[in-house]
């Protein structure tokens, strides 16, 4: 672990007295390696390590009897801050002035959007909301059935239209349906798409324009590697994001992609997916993720 690796560096100079700048540089190399192994973006790691190094070269660390712990502390604090630890309010869902509050889920193929539409629906219903879901993925085989089955399991209504209809129209009609049904929360599930597919990126931008959701949440797989930054940046620039959901956190991926997407978009991580069942949704805890990223 990083703690052990830093201990090794500083144990080596026990009895030699002061820590030198070289010792700190060695420690920074270990921090860099730990963050890259955790899938934090390469460029972000550079900036981050420079920031930590500045603090680590401060008098406190150089005089410390436990420099390894001190440096880990600095790294942990910087991670928590970058993950949005300083603003817990930001992680709340923004409700509409008048119902329904609309949440739109977007992201790459297979990231967990459909499953999390259902999880969010269950979550809001538990909080007393009248929820509906919209099956707007018209391209993946049986995508509509997938959301409908989840809706049946949860006893939550799903708005769906026949094959051949366009998502930009379906979602618009769904909002009208939600008002007719007096729903207070409407969740739009969209098809997985590549950030470099212009036509499909335009499609979600149009859906957003037409439905005016309160939240546009990028669903990101916790095991995503270096590409996370580019994906998040494109979605944010083309569609505009208000938040992030980090999925499959029940695995052992370190989750460094979370840091990268949070940093490049500036939007908060609102939820974490921690399993395949519809109750596996947790609020986001920055300090827990910071510990996990550090390994």
């Amino acid at each position: 672990s990083l703690t052990q690796r830093l201990d090794n560096i500083f144990d080596r100079m026990r009895g030699k007295g002061k820590i030198t700048e070289k010792d700190v540089a060695d420690a920074m190399r270990e921090v860099r390696q730990a963050l890259l192994e955790a899938d934090v973006n390469f460029k972000l790691v550079k900036q981050f390590v420079n920031k930590v190094q500045e603090r680590a070269l401060g008098a406190e660390v150089l005089a410390s009897l436990t420099p390894a712990q001190h440096i880990i502390g600095i790294v942990h604090d910087e991670l928590v801050e970058m993950l949005g630890g300083d603003d817990p309010e930001a992680t709340k869902i923004k409700f509409a002035g008048e119902p329904p509050t609309i949440l739109m889920l977007v992201g790459l193929q297979g990231s967990g959007k459909t499953t999390h539409a259902a999880k969010l629906a269950a979550y809001f219903r538990k909080n007393g909301q009248k929820v509906g879901m919209v099956a707007a993925d018209m391209q993946r085989p049986a995508a509509v059935q997938q959301l409908q089955q989840l809706g049946r399991q949860l006893d939550i209504p799903v708005y769906a239209e026949p094959q051949g209809n366009k998502p930009v129209d379906i979602t618009q009609r769904a909002v009208r349906w939600a008002r007719e049904q007096a729903l207070t929360v409407l969740i739009l599930d969209t098809a997985g798409r590549l950030h470099i597919d212009d036509a499909l990126m335009q499609e979600v931008a149009t859906i957003r324009q037409r439905t005016q959701p309160q939240e546009v949440l990028l669903v990101v797989d916790a095991m995503t590697g270096q590409d996370a930054v580019r994906v998040a940046d494109e979605f944010n620039k083309t569609v505009g994001l208000t938040g992030l959901i980090l999925t499959k956190m029940d695995g052992d991926a370190r989750g460094g992609a979370a840091l990268s997407v949070r940093q490049v978009t500036g939007v908060p991580i609102k939820f974490m997916g921690t399993g395949e069942k519809t109750d596996a949704l947790e609020p986001f805890y920055p300090d827990r993720l910071a510990t996990r990223i550090l390994g």
Binding site: L36, Q109, R140, Q149, I196, T224, G225, G251
Partner: protein, 278 residues
């Protein structure tokens, strides 16, 4: 300009950045950088172009030689078991592979072994209809072992020569799900001790270092005979496969390059390495 430029510190940094941002991983990258430094010295390399070519060679070495799909030579039915974590592209890759093999005149059948996820059976049945390949399935919640047993019976009855078994996505860290996979394999082995003839692990190209942990665990629990690397039509380079191939000895057999049936190709190591530098 790289053709005639000298090797500079900037070039070393640029190559390191290309590898790390391609998800090759810091440890594999460090090893490659060390090998390159040794080669520059031993071979007196001076041009940037020579260094880049040397790196491409070393990357190709890590991937090993291309290996084709293994068909059974003792049984009339070759069984391919497709495994991997959630959402990586197993079901879609099975449809693509089935289509490919059908065009090569194989008699293909699919087993809908994901009885857990919502509409998983409907998804693979839709693909089966589109390709014109029979799909054996049970109701939602059935024992996947029972589906596989049924499929083997049906395959024998119908003169099938390739049976591809879809399984539910499962995180490699979930003990009971990995045990379930072992049970599925036992059912196959009852029919033919050599089955499955391929255990194809599907890895998503957008996956970072966790891809190695996935491969390592599946090798341990189910065994893996080949990798299908999907979603290379995105901007992720799938660099984790260099470590997977070289340290676990796993051949990459196919790549997925999109969501349509035709978006599959046999793995070409030279093209793959070139793409890393594009």
């Amino acid at each position: 300009a790289l053709e005639h430029d000298d090797i500079t510190d900037d070039l070393w940094d640029e190559l390191e950045e290309t590898l790390i941002t391609g998800d090759v991983g810091v440890q594999t990258t460090d090893k490659l950088m060390q090998v390159l430094h040794d080669r520059v010295e031993a071979e007196h390399l001076t041009r940037g172009r020579e260094l880049r070519d040397a790196l491409k060679e070393e990357l190709e070495i890590l991937l090993g030689d291309p290996e084709p799909l293994v068909f059974s030579d003792t049984s009339p039915i070759s069984v391919f078991l497709v495994v991997g974590v959630n959402g990586v592209g197993k079901t879609t890759s099975i449809a693509k592979l089935a289509n490919l093999l059908k065009r090569q005149k194989h008699r293909v059948m699919l087993a809908a072994g994901d009885t857990f996820r919502a509409a998983a059976t409907e998804q693979i049945k839709t693909w089966g209809e589109r390709i014109g390949v029979p799909v054996i399935s049970h109701q939602h919640g059935a024992d996947p072992g029972a589906v596989v047993y049924d499929a083997m019976q049906a395959a024998q009855a119908r003169g099938t020569d390739v049976l591809i078994v879809d399984t539910a996505g499962r995180l490699h860290t979930k003990f009971n799900l990995m045990e379930e996979l072992k049970k599925i394999m036992k059912v196959l082995q009852k029919y033919d001790p050599e089955a499955p003839h391929e255990v194809l692990l599907v890895i998503d190209a957008t996956t970072g270092q966790n891809g190695f942990a996935q491969a390592k665990q599946f090798v341990q629990d189910s065994g893996v005979s080949g990798i299908i690397l999907t979603k290379l039509d995105g901007t992720a380079r799938g660099g984790i496969v260099f470590a997977v191939a070289s340290e676990l000895g796993l051949p990459i057999k196919y790549i997925g390059t999109g969501e349509k049936l035709g978006d599959i190709a046999p793995f070409d190591p030279v093209q793959f390495v070139d793409a890393l530098f594009e």
